[in-house]
């Protein structure tokens, strides 16, 4: 009833002790399309659903590489997301310049949270309207963090944010026990299945889903279009097979490979893997 009286600017409290502007900013995150993150003892996986404005336009990017060991998925205002992404990339590269080592994930997330908190306590600023899922690996192991416009951040074993994320969270909670020891392949498939639960209509295709993986010996790699195709197919057929990410990981363990998607190489590697016919044990049906 009093909402309209106390929500004009972020520096006004409501009688119940709430900052409505901050809560409205968190609503903006819930309007963004779903992003799912989950981690095992060795890897972290982000899976996101991309939206497109119209049939004519491309799909909006939701996953960004910050550094070789870290990347983010965003939900909410993409402009704000890009701005935070630029800040994070800058911090990481400065850290690398001074210390010649990768920036610890938790510290960068804390810096983002502090930056977000400042925007909730200045009358001339507005809170960031974007939630981040930060996936990274550092000396302490793999990490998955979630930051939100209020300046809060938490570390998670698995989390989903964005529209209809509750369905995805339910799936993740159900399978939580199997994540720590899961292989990379299994982790990606869990992520895509969780994403699928958040779909209200339509289905996952290689055009509207984007997966990112990172591990101790695997630098942050974004799988899109052809690279994510095998996983989408596997999802539909529910068959086990050695796929793109595991092949990429082996290649990277032998010789470090920079960059994001090995598009054509990925397809060839996938076909080679198919021919071998080996793979992890079949997963229990969902």
């Amino acid at each position: 009833m009093f909402r309209n009286q106390y929500d004009t600017d972020v520096t006004t409290w409501s009688p119940q002790g709430r900052l409505f502007q901050v809560e409205y900013a968190m609503e903006a995150v819930k309007q963004g399309s779903c992003a799912v993150g989950l981690k095992s003892d060795t890897h972290v996986v982000l899976a996101t659903l991309k939206r497109s404005q119209s049939e004519l336009s491309s799909f909006q990017r939701k996953v960004f590489k910050i550094d070789d060991h870290m990347g983010i998925a965003i939900a909410g205002l993409t402009g704000d997301g890009r701005s935070l992404c630029k800040y994070m990339r800058n911090e990481c590269i400065n850290h690398r310049y001074v210390y010649e080592s990768s920036m610890p994930v938790g510290r960068l997330v804390r810096q983002i949270a502090d930056k977000s908190q400042v925007c909730t306590q200045r009358s001339w600023k507005r809170p960031y309207g974007v939630g981040l899922l930060v996936a990274g690996v550092d000396s302490q192991g793999p990490h998955l963090f979630s930051s939100c416009p209020s300046g809060n951040y938490y570390e998670y074993k698995a989390i989903a944010i964005g529209a209809r994320s509750q369905a995805a969270k339910t799936y993740l909670e159900k399978h939580l026990e199997s994540f720590p020891s899961a292989t990379l392949d299994e982790l990606v498939r869990h992520g895509l299945r969780a994403l699928q639960s958040s779909l209200s209509e339509g289905e996952l295709t290689e055009a509207n889903s984007s997966v990112a993986v990172v591990g101790k010996d695997l630098s942050f790699t974004i799988l899109e279009d052809e690279a994510v195709q095998p996983y989408i197919t596997a999802l539909k057929e529910d068959e086990p097979m050695q796929t793109e990410a595991a092949v990429v990981e082996e290649e990277q363990r032998e010789a470090p490979v920079e960059g994001q998607v090995a598009e054509d190489g990925g397809q060839a590697a996938y076909e080679a893997a198919l021919r071998e016919g080996e793979g992890p044990a079949p997963m229990e049906a969902d």
Binding site: V98, Y99, S101, P104, G106, R107, R110
Partner: protein, 284 residues
């Protein structure tokens, strides 16, 4: 008529130091050049615009005052040993005989310095700030020796670029990922890592010993003996050193330990020392 040089060179701009070679500089003199009222230090003609008289209070480091001498460090099987004496010399006067020139950064890293002691205290302050930040983050992550090395390299190089160096030769020693780490950073930002690292006189005196006897898998007794021999040689042959040393040991199991100051046995009763000129050619 020969063209007279103008009092103020347009090419240089206002307040800029001009050609200094017209005046004998400190590299030639053994003391700073004394300013004369009408003769600018920049070497321009009398009563020209003198940048030094523009009342800019900023000064640039030109000479060290209280200095430490050599530092030597070696890797061995379990970690690293870093050794140096405890003298803060004022020119050639042995003024401060209990200065600790090794700084304990965190549980896996030490930094030792030769050169200006006050600049080393400033560097210790910077490292203390970094360690405090790590403590405040409370996430169990500490600076590794390699990160300390890179950080100090950046600091030294940036100061050098401002023509205001921190007048130190730094040795960074520690253990990371179970492996010993040893690096050196000079006052102009020169840096490298190696199995044995020396600064100052030890470059000439101790390095041949290390090259001959240091092995990455040597035992602690051998490493300590090698370090004692190196410290001894530096004391024998370096005028500005004292027989009071400290050795810091960093191992993967026990972390950092800096020893109490100790002395080594020295012999000055060699016959040749007694009457050195007696044996010179042409002497009687």
């Amino acid at each position: 008529m020969l063209p007279r040089p103008t009092t103020h060179s347009k090419a240089l701009g206002p307040g800029v130091a001009g050609p200094e070679l017209a005046v004998a500089i400190s590299a030639v003199l053994d003391r700073p050049p004394k300013p004369v009222s009408h003769l600018p230090l920049s070497g321009a003609q009398p009563c020209a615009v003198d940048p030094a008289a523009l009342c800019d209070p900023r000064q640039h480091t030109k000479y060290p005052y209280v200095t430490g001498t050599s530092v030597m460090a070696i890797k061995y099987k379990d970690g690293v040993l870093v050794g140096c004496d405890t003298l803060g010399a004022y020119g050639t006067t042995k003024r401060y005989k209990s200065t600790q020139r090794i700084y304990h950064v965190n549980s896996k890293c030490v930094v030792a310095a030769g050169g200006e002691i006050s600049d080393f205290q400033y560097i210790s302050n910077l490292l203390d700030e970094l360690t405090t930040d790590d403590y405040r983050f409370d996430d169990g992550i500490e600076l590794s020796p390699q990160e300390v090395h890179s950080y100090l390299c950046r600091v030294m190089y940036n100061r050098r670029n401002k023509f205001d160096p921190l007048w130190n030769s730094l040795v960074v020693g520690g253990v990371q990922g179970g492996q010993p780490f040893l690096g050196m950073v000079g006052m102009i930002g020169t840096h490298y890592t190696d199995s044995h690292v020396t600064t100052g006189f030890a470059n000439q005196l101790a390095r041949p010993l290390f090259r001959e006897r240091q092995r990455d898998d040597m035992s602690e007794e051998d490493a300590l003996q090698l370090m004692y021999d190196a410290l001894k040689v530096c004391y024998y042959r370096d005028k500005v050193s004292i027989n009071k040393f400290q050795i810091a040991k960093v191992t993967k199991d026990d972390g950092v330990s800096i020893s109490e100051p100790f002395a080594l046995d020295m012999r000055w009763d060699y016959k040749m020392f007694a009457q050195p000129t007696k044996w010179a050619v042409g002497a009687w």
